[in-house]
Every structure is written in C-alpha cells, then in structure tokens.
C-alpha cells in the first residue's frame, strides 16, 4: 500500500561517490511504503559555490534545483548539509522552493513516523553528529533512536560526537593541514569508544573520516545511516 509519492534528491556526492547510500535510502523509504520519484535532471544544491563565496553561480544551481523539484510535494535528502543549504541558504540567494525538503532521518521520524525497519546489523556503532544537521537542523536524537531499533547493533557515544570532522567542503583542500588535524582529533575520540563502525547522515563527513581511518590503517569503517537501516 503506497502512502504517497515522494521525491529523492540524492546529492552530487552520493550520486558520484557513494551510490549505495542512495540505493539504501530508496530501499528504506520503499519499505516504509512510499512510492519514489527520482527526477533525472537533478544535480547539486550549489553549496560548493555558495560556501566559496560565488553567490551568482550558487543561485544558478539553486534555481535549477527549484525547477527540477517544482512539482514535488516532499523532497528527501540523504545529507544534513545539503538539506540545510536548501532550507536555510536558498533564502540568501532569493530562491524559494515549493516542496517540503527533509533530511532523510528526520523524514522517517517526523513524517513517516516509523523507527523500526526490521534492520539487522552486528557491530558496535558510534554516531557522528554532522555540523549542519546538528546546528542548522537541530537533528540529534532522531538518528540515535533509529539506530537503537536495529537488531544486533550496540550504540556507544563518543565524547566528541558534536565536534566537526574537519571536512568543510573546499576547506578540506584549502586548509588541508587543519582539516586533517581535526579528523584525527575526532578519530581519537572514536577510538576511545571501541566502536568498529562510524555512522552519520552525511556522506561527505564519512568520506573525510574514512580517508583518515584508511590512512592510519585502523580497523574501522564508516556507514551512512541509510545503509545501516537497509541492512538485513
């Protein structure tokens, strides 16, 4: 029984680098009973240009997003950062979008109101609060509640859960030394939990952390929340 039709904006990062996150999100939302629409012409939210100070270029991309999703009722995004760009900063670009835009986990807890997807995942997990999700969208408890319903999963809080991973878009290459240092500080906190898996709702943070884990040769992995919820 379909609950209704919702649209997915998978983001450029997920589209190009972490396609399985998009597939997992689609699986979970279908399991929740939604019919999915994935507009073919979607690209990016424009945040790279906006955060680098290129307002006109960002506005062009935001305007493209607006047109692509003009007929959608709900748009679900597997990223707190991109969702916050759309809901908070499109305003700075004088772009107003018609649909309700939700970050993935928030849509599950607040609209679908489903927290148990019958997922099974054996592992010790620690959750990384991505900055824009935490501070712009005030997402804190939702993803943890969703994780707590996953069978076999043990959730352990790290002391620096709310500290930035250091990614920050072009900051990660413009000030690579600071960015890398921030990732290593974060990983020290993760190590203290004894967790084997780091979960977040932003793939770009996970790319940063995974890169640092791999460089240090640590026995840990990163997963998007959607991938955990889709696990059987």
């Amino acid at each position: 029984m379909a609950k209704g039709r919702i649209s997915l904006f998978v983001t450029c990062v997920v589209d190009q680098l972490f396609p399985n996150v998009g597939i997992a999100m689609a699986d979970v939302l279908e399991r929740a009973g939604y019919e999915l629409d994935v507009p073919e012409n979607q690209t990016c939210c424009g945040q790279p240009a906006f955060n680098s100070g290129y307002r006109e270029e960002a506005r062009m991309v935001a305007e493209h997003f607006r047109k692509v999703f003009a007929d959608a009722e709900y748009v679900i995004v597997p990223s707190g950062s991109c969702a916050s760009m759309i809901s908070h900063h499109f305003h700075d670009l004088q772009v107003k979008v018609a649909p309700k835009v939700y970050e993935f986990s928030t849509f599950l807890t607040e609209v679908a109101k489903i927290e148990d997807f019958g997922a099974k995942f054996d592992g010790v997990v620690t959750y990384h609060d991505s900055c824009h999700a935490l501070r712009d969208l005030r997402i804190k408890e939702g993803p943890r509640r969703l994780l707590s319903k996953v069978r076999g999963l043990e959730l352990r809080e790290m002391d620096a859960a709310e500290e930035c991973c250091g990614f920050g878009g072009t900051f990660s290459v413009k000030f690579a030394g600071i960015s890398g240092g921030m990732a290593r500080t974060k990983i020290e906190s993760i190590k203290r939990t004894g967790a084997d898996t780091i979960v977040s709702i932003d793939s770009s943070c996970l790319m940063q952390l995974q890169g640092a884990i791999s460089r240090e040769g640590l026995n840990m992995k990163t997963m998007h929340l959607a991938e955990v919820l889709a696990s059987k």
């Binding site: 690209t43 240009a49 270029e57 921030m182 791999s214």
Partner: protein, 458 residues
C-alpha cells in the same frame, strides 16, 4: 602561494607541545562553561542570550543617541570624553597628557582595545613605560608577544615557560611553582602601582543612563590601575555601550559564565568619574577615550553589524576546532578565533586578510556558544562573497554552475572528471587532500546508473 597566515598555521600544526597546550587549556575552559550554562545551573541561559542579543541590537542601532547620553553623564560626574577616530589619535592624546603632567610610568589593566591599536608599542616608542598588570598580560609583555587568546592571553604557556621567561627577563632563580610565580609578579607590580603616574584600563561596558564604566576581572589589578594613580584613562570601543544600568545583569551573568564558567567574576567595578570631595579612593582626573577605528564602517552594513555585539568572552575561541589547531598567533590581528575571523577583515579591510574567512569548516559551534548570539558562520559566508576571487577559481565555479545546470553534461563530465581527479594525484586539490588522508575508491556506476538499471528490472 604561502602567506604569513598559512606559514604560522603550518608552524603551529607542526609543534606537538604547543598543540597539546592549546588543546588542554581550551578544553578546561570549554568544560567550565558547559557546566556553568547547563540547564540545572543556569535555567535562564537561553532566555538571557535572546535578551542580550536584542539589547545589543538596539544599542548598536541607536548608538549616536546613547553615546551622547553617556558623554553627558561622564561630564556631569567630572570626567572628560575624548572621541578618537583611530590608533594615532588615542596615542597622541595619551602622549600629550603624559607630557603635560610629566608622567612616565603607566600601569595598564587588561584591554583588547588597546591591543587592537598597539598602544604599548606607541607609548614605548616615545619613551613612556607602560606596564601590564594582569598576570597573563604581564607574562606576554615580557615575551614581547600579542595575547594568544582574548580572555587568557598566556593560554599557550605552561608554568615551565613562565619560569623560563621570569628567569630570563627578571633575573630571578628558576621556579615552576605557580603560587611563587604569582607572588613574584605581585611584588613587582605593587611597586609599579604605587609609583605609576597614569592608569590605563579598557572597559567591558559603558552604561549610557548612568555614565558608568564597568570593568570585570579576577585579579584586582584593574581596581588598582583605576584608583591608585592620579590619572585614569579608560579606552573603549564605541560598541561597548549599553543603554541602561538595569540591563547590566543580563550581560554580567552571561559574560563570566561564557568566559571562564564563573557565575560572576571576582571583581566587578563601576567607575563614575574622578574622586569627589570627601572620597578617599579614586583618581584626580578621569578620561574616557571612545574609539572608532573602523567601527562606524561596520554599523553601515546591516547584515554584518552584529559583529559589534561581541562582549569578548572568548567562548567561540575555546570551542572552535580551527582555533584549537592553529592557536591565537596565526591570526593576523589582536583578535583571534571565530570572532577575530569576522572582525579583522571588516576592520582592516577585506583584501588585507583575504584567506581568513575561508579558514573555517563552517561547523557553527561558535554561534552555538555565543552569549549574544552572533551568527558567526553567516558573517563568514557574507565575507567570503565579498572577497576578491582569483580569476582561475572564479572560472572553475562558472564551469561548475554551467555543468550543474546542464544535467547531461554534468553526468558525462563527472564520469570523466572524477576518473581524472583520482588519476591526477598531483593536481593541487587532490594533492592537498592526499596530504592528510586517503581518497575513497570511485564506484563503477553512479547512483543515476544504478537507478536506471533498477527501473529496467522492475
């Protein structure tokens, strides 16, 4: 090209001992603040932040009115108000007064505003002897350094570093016991207080309706600075004004807690003009220097003028993951950390510090702890939009925007472009990324490809 900013960042990151000092000392301040503003300890915290923001907004938007009211009250109390456009006007005033009064020794209490205008260097250059009397400031003055932190100027030093500088500069035996170091400084500074001709302080708040200068401190040195010498000069930025004495409670409750986790600092002084007939304490002459130094330029900018709400608590420095890596001396001006990153470009001119607004992951932790709710990340974004860009980068973002508005081209060029990026490990962005961490393995198929396959199957 590596500039002075990036050079200093590199040096700080490469110094493990310094990294540890910054991290541990900021962590202490972070923890103290967190406890002090917790729901149990301070239930009215969020409400007071909102109030403080509204009060500052009102004060800054009516600055002309309140400054004149404040001046009239200072004059009524027997003080004088000196309006200064810039650093030179302040030092000229102090130098002339010192000359007229044949003054040489000046005691100073902690003031970021005087750091901002390099007042000590200017006075020393003309043969005067300014002596910092806040312990941290005294230590860094001996080291000829700028403050490392708005509230904790010697945050980057351990007691061993202090013992070193005392031995080197004061010629005393090496002693790493903090109490002994404090007693040494206290003994030396008492003599300076008694002999000083002029005391120079900053100001935490200027109260328009009472004409009072409010100073908060923990060591008692500001009290001595402002009362022992015959002349007291307070130097304050014009944004320090608050309309009414009754609003002070809001700020005093927030300031101590945000800065050091104290419900109230040890001393809070209200100074209203010189000593009056019959009073035992206080200076014979009182001058209040009102400094612009670029502040009126900021007021003109509606979106960014909130930068002037700052009450200099330093909470944004302590919580900032970037400050905690690069420390205070990497910043180009006296003000460091997130607040320094937004006010330095606005005071000094944006193209003077073009890279500064970009040295942030925009994590927003600063805005979350700001007691007056300055939206620092938003101001950083606005500044980024104003900086003159390199033509090369601008072209890259034009291409980005063109690609992202032409889906077919985006998909095709992403296929080729990503492969190239992963192959071209020597291209500057890839090289910068790889200097710190590994790249993910690029997937065989994009989400769009996988989704099309899935649609075909079903």
């Amino acid at each position: 090209m590596i500039d002075a900013f990036e050079k200093k960042i590199g040096e700080t990151l490469a110094d493990p001992a310094l990294q540890l000092k910054i991290y541990t000392n900021t962590a202490t301040l972070v923890d103290k603040r967190k406890t002090a503003v917790s729901e149990e300890a301070f239930p009215e915290y969020q409400e007071l932040r909102t109030k403080a923001n509204a009060l500052k907004r009102h004060a800054i938007e009516h600055l002309d009115l309140y400054l004149e009211q404040f001046e009239a009250n200072v004059i009524a109390h027997g003080g004088k108000v000196i309006w200064c456009r810039d650093a030179t006007e302040v030092s000229d005033f102090v130098l002339n007064l010192a000359k007229e009064r044949q003054a040489k020794l000046i005691v100073k209490s902690k003031s970021m505003t005087t750091e901002e205008i390099d007042l000590n260097e200017r006075l020393e250059h003309h043969g005067l002897e300014p002596v910092e009397t806040d312990l941290g400031e005294y230590i860094i003055q001996l080291r000829h350094e700028r403050p490392y932190h708005i509230v904790a100027p010697a945050l980057h030093l351990t007691r061993h570093d202090v013992a070193d500088v005392f031995t080197e500069k004061l010629g005393i035996p090496h002693d790493t016991v903090i109490e002994n170091q404090t007693m040494t400084a206290r003994g030396l500074l008492r003599e300076k207080f008694l002999a000083a001709d002029i005391g120079i302080s900053g100001a935490n708040f200027l109260v328009a309706d009472s004409g009072a200068v409010v100073l908060v401190e923990n060591e008692g040195n500001a009290r001595l600075t402002t009362t022992a010498p015959k002349i007291h000069i307070a130097v304050a930025g014009i944004e320090k004004i608050i309309p009414r004495a009754q609003d002070l409670g809001v700020f005093l409750k927030l300031l101590g807690r945000s800065a050091t986790g104290q419900p109230l600092t040890v001393y809070t002084s209200f100074l209203s003009g010189p000593k009056r007939t019959g009073e035992i304490d206080g200076p014979e002459e009182f001058y209040l220097v009102l400094l612009d130094n670029g502040r009126t330029k900021l007021i003109a900018d509606e979106a960014k003028r909130q930068s002037l709400y700052c009450i200099r608590c330093g909470a944004c420095l302590n919580i900032c993951p970037v400050y905690r890596k690069i420390g205070g001396h990497s910043f180009p001006w006296a003000y460091s950390g997130p607040i320094g990153a937004i006010i330095s470009p606005q005071f000094l001119g944006i193209d003077h510090t073009p890279k500064l607004p970009f040295a942030s992951s925009l994590c927003g932790a600063c805005a979350d702890v700001c007691p007056v709710k300055i939206d620092i990340p938003q101001v950083l974004l606005d500044l980024r939009a104003e900086v003159s860009k390199s033509p090369l980068e601008h072209r890259a973002f034009r291409i980005f925007a063109w690609m992202m508005t032409h889906p077919a081209i985006y998909r095709l060029s992403a296929k080729i472009g990503l492969k190239l990026f992963f192959l071209a490990k020597l291209a500057p962005p890839a090289k910068a990324w790889l200097s710190q961490r590994d790249l993910p393995n690029p997937p065989e198929k994009s989400f769009t490809d996988l989704w099309k396959l899935r649609a075909k199957k079903s």
